[in-house]
């Protein structure tokens, strides 16, 4: 059968009686019940559950729905399809987030800097400048045949 009108979500609860009725409707304790703030985004009286993904729930407990790690009647998060085990994971990491990002950025930046250095100082087999015969091709380059060509020495002793 369809859900009756009093089981559907309603407007933001303003009085303590309305809060208690909404908490009972969502199958939660009045102390736990915390609606989204009323800033015009249209959440109504839907409870604001902590943003924790399904990864953080006990994998060994006998849930009613094991694939979603969810019991019958438990209130579902507004973004529950984001927190299933195929999507976002909010479980605590072994290494704290700031250390992870610091180490990764240090690695990435040092790699990029070293690649830049490698571009500035590339590696190549030893080469020498090209040496031309006939006094560095003096006549071919348009030198005066009557003048004495400058002496070209390609070595040092």
């Amino acid at each position: 059968s369809e859900m009756s009108k009093d089981m559907m979500p309603g407007p933001y609860p303003r009085t303590p009686e309305e809060r208690a009725a909404a908490a009972k409707k969502y199958n939660m304790r009045v102390e736990d019940y915390q609606p989204y703030p009323d800033d015009g985004l249209g959440y109504g009286d839907y409870p604001m559950l902590p943003n924790k993904s399904q990864y953080e729930r006990d994998p060994w407990y006998q849930w009613d729905q094991p694939d979603m790690r969810h019991n019958w009647g438990e209130p579902m998060h507004w973004d529950f399809d984001m927190y299933i085990r195929n999507r976002a994971d909010t479980s605590p990491t072994v290494v704290p987030w700031h250390i992870m990002s610091k180490h990764f950025l240090i690695f990435l930046s040092s790699m990029l800097i070293l690649f830049g250095l490698g571009e500035i100082y590339p590696s190549y087999r030893p080469v020498g400048p090209k040496q031309y015969p006939f006094n560095d091709l003096y006549l071919e380059k348009g030198g005066d045949p009557n003048k004495e060509p400058p002496a070209v020495i390609h070595y040092e002793i």
Partner: protein
């Protein structure tokens, strides 16, 4: 004798033979598939595909088939064109040989699976898509094969779809490949716009290629071939069954990205920026993957990171403008990497599902053939002289040492070569030697020919493939032939150094003389923290922003602010601002009346 006709016919016959297990069950109810028929089909295709390869090797015949054109618009037509050149004619027998061995192995590995025929059909579909990609002359046909292998990869990784990790891994594979596809489509769009053709033989090779399409191609290769930046899907893809890892994620699918770069290398020839980018990206990938492989404990993950590292090496070869050498490495790598996966699959099944090398040991005496072939594969991977890997890997390192290139890329590649030796020896020592750390009552045997013949066949290939290919195929560019002795033996020295370090570390680990955890080891073990940083940030932000935009923001903006509530707000603002003027005093009204009269008179002037 019209050899081109025989070439074309045999290639088409290969493809047709492979499609028969897909088409025949649709035609009649009596023609059902079994795993054995599919194995025999692939074996037949392999034997048929040897014919065009022989023709090409001995006589140099190449061919280009171009049939039925899709008249897309008036001046842009997409023909179905297949290119039988050196690359496709040589890769067909290699891919089919490796696939035949893997499928034969899978008859044993997946024997207890109720849907084994579906599994084999998926593998066959994947093989057909891969061969379409190889033989395509047209970027459109290549894209069909590209997407085909991506989809089959998704279906095969999530084969055990009841497992949430497998589904997540398959999603990862598809999403990362999709990001790479953006690059491929960018390049196709640019080619269609400038050259009005998607044919490979009509690719422009100008004196200065523009960088944008090349960036797209590099992005496509990064996605498909798991270079650094789009790499996490490859280790995660080990959630699939071992035959899937052997076929897709070691020999065939992941080389599709490199193959694309080989096919389009006329565009790359003159653009030094793109080549340097390939070089640096490949060097970074090979180094990062080798670093991550050092501390892994799952045997399949070690081999996956080894694949990733070799793919980086292939990218480095492309960056050196040596596509034929990259293709040689693809061919030799297929043999020993597939064999490594098959050996690990045999070990895993015999140990009843145990994949952690810390819980294996002393298997050399218990599974002699498998572990001997594992050793041969590891030696080939390290580039032991005159095994298969030596012919490609040593040539790559020689070319690296004698070219004008980025020093850091050179250093990284040499470091990664030594790391390859380190993690390979670590795996060998922990799996095969030492005291057995397995549960005592483990009935293991390798008496099944379905296990032994594929592995020994691939071992034979690992030993001889490099020698055979380099004997029969002349190199396209002159390889470096003169270099000092120190440069010539660099690869050997670096590998030997790695072996020595690995043996030393293994001895230290057995005696527990060093601390177990430090920052570097954690960095390597957690794969550089890349996975949690990118996946969590991207997933949570995209999904929550998307949900907020689609539901709340749309409601708030369209139905409220631009409609009734927005009008009400404007009215309210106007009313509040003009209330102060309605004070009820006659003087104020007379003043505003006079002000309006003066303004009208002044404006009429």
């Amino acid at each position: 004798m019209d050899l081109a006709l025989i070439l074309n016919l045999s290639m088409l016959l290969t493809l047709a033979t492979l499609s028969t297990p897909i088409i025949f069950p649709l035609l009649s109810d009596n023609l059902k598939n079994t795993p054995t028929t599919i194995v025999n089909t692939v074996k037949t295709s392999f034997l048929i595909s040897l014919v065009p390869m022989m023709i090409h090797i001995h006589l140099g015949t190449e061919s280009l088939i171009s049939s039925w054109e899709w008249k897309f618009i008036t001046n842009f037509k997409i023909p179905i064109s297949l290119k039988m050149d050196f690359y496709s004619l040589t890769f067909f027998p290699i891919a089919l040989f490796v696939s035949w061995s893997i499928l034969q192995f899978a008859t044993w590995y997946m024997a207890s699976d109720p849907h084994i025929t579906k599994f084999f059909t998926f593998l066959l579909l994947f093989l057909i898509a891969m061969l379409i990609l190889i033989v395509a002359n047209n970027l459109f046909i290549l894209f069909i094969g590209w997407e085909g292998v991506g989809i089959m990869s998704f279906l095969l990784i999530s084969w055990w779809h009841g497992r949430a990790e497998a589904n997540t891994a398959a999603l990862q594979a598809v999403l990362y490949n999709r990001i790479g596809d953006v690059g491929l489509i960018l390049c196709m769009a640019w080619l269609a716009y400038t050259t009005n053709s998607w044919e490979i033989h009509q690719l422009p090779s100008p004196t200065q290629s523009p960088t944008l399409p090349l960036l797209g191609l590099i992005l496509a290769a990064t996605g498909k071939s798991a270079q650094f930046g789009l790499h996490p899907w490859l280790p995660a893809a080990m959630e699939g069954p071992t035959p899937v890892s052997a076929l897709l994620h070691s020999s065939t699918m992941v080389v599709a990205g490199i193959f694309l770069l080989i096919r389009t290398h006329p565009l790359f020839n003159n653009n030094q920026t793109a080549l340097t980018l390939c070089l640096c990206l490949g060097a970074l990938s090979t180094m990062f993957a080798a670093t991550c492989a050092l501390t892994q404990n799952d045997i399949k993950k070690i081999i996956a990171f080894s694949t990733s590292s070799q793919l980086g090496l292939m990218m480095v070869t492309i960056g050196l403008n040596l596509p034929q050498l990259a293709f040689l490495h693809i061919s030799t790598h297929a043999f020993f990497k597939a064999m490594l996966f098959l050996c690990s699959g045999s070990i895993i099944h015999n140990l009843n599902g145990e994949q952690d090398i810390r819980k294996m040991g002393g298997l050399q005496k218990m599974l002699p053939t498998t572990t001997s072939c594992l050793t041969i594969g590891n030696l080939a991977l390290m580039g032991t002289p005159f095994l298969a890997g030596f012919y490609s890997k040593d040539q790559i390192i020689e070319s690296l040492n004698t070219s004008y290139l980025n020093t850091w890329a050179l250093t990284l590649t040499l470091l990664a070569t030594s790391f390859t030796a380190v993690y390979t020896i670590r795996m060998t020592v922990l799996v095969q030697t030492g005291f057995p750390r397995i549960p005592p009552l483990t009935p293991m045997n390798e008496n099944n020919p379905a296990v032994i013949s594929p592995i020994t066949r691939l071992a034979l290939g690992s030993i001889t493939a490099g020698f055979l290919i380099t004997s029969y195929i002349p190199p396209a560019k002159t390889p470096p032939m003169t270099m000092p002795l120190s440069i010539k033996i660099t690869a050997l020295v670096v590998t030997a150094l790695g072996i020595v370090i690995a043996l030393d570390i293994a001895k230290m680990a057995q005696a527990f003389t060093t601390p177990k955890q430090n920052q570097l080891r954690t960095f390597s073990l957690s794969l550089g923290y890349f996975n949690p940083l990118t996946h969590r940030l991207a997933a949570t932000n995209l999904l929550s922003w998307g949900q907020n935009t689609a539901s709340h923001l749309v409601d708030l903006s369209w139905y409220k602010l631009l409609g009734p509530e927005g009008l009400a707000n404007l009215q309210l603002m106007a009313a509040k601002n003009s209330t102060t003027l309605h004070s009820g005093l006659i003087k104020a009204y007379l003043g505003s009346f006079a002000l309006s009269i003066i303004i009208i008179l002044l404006s009429l002037h």
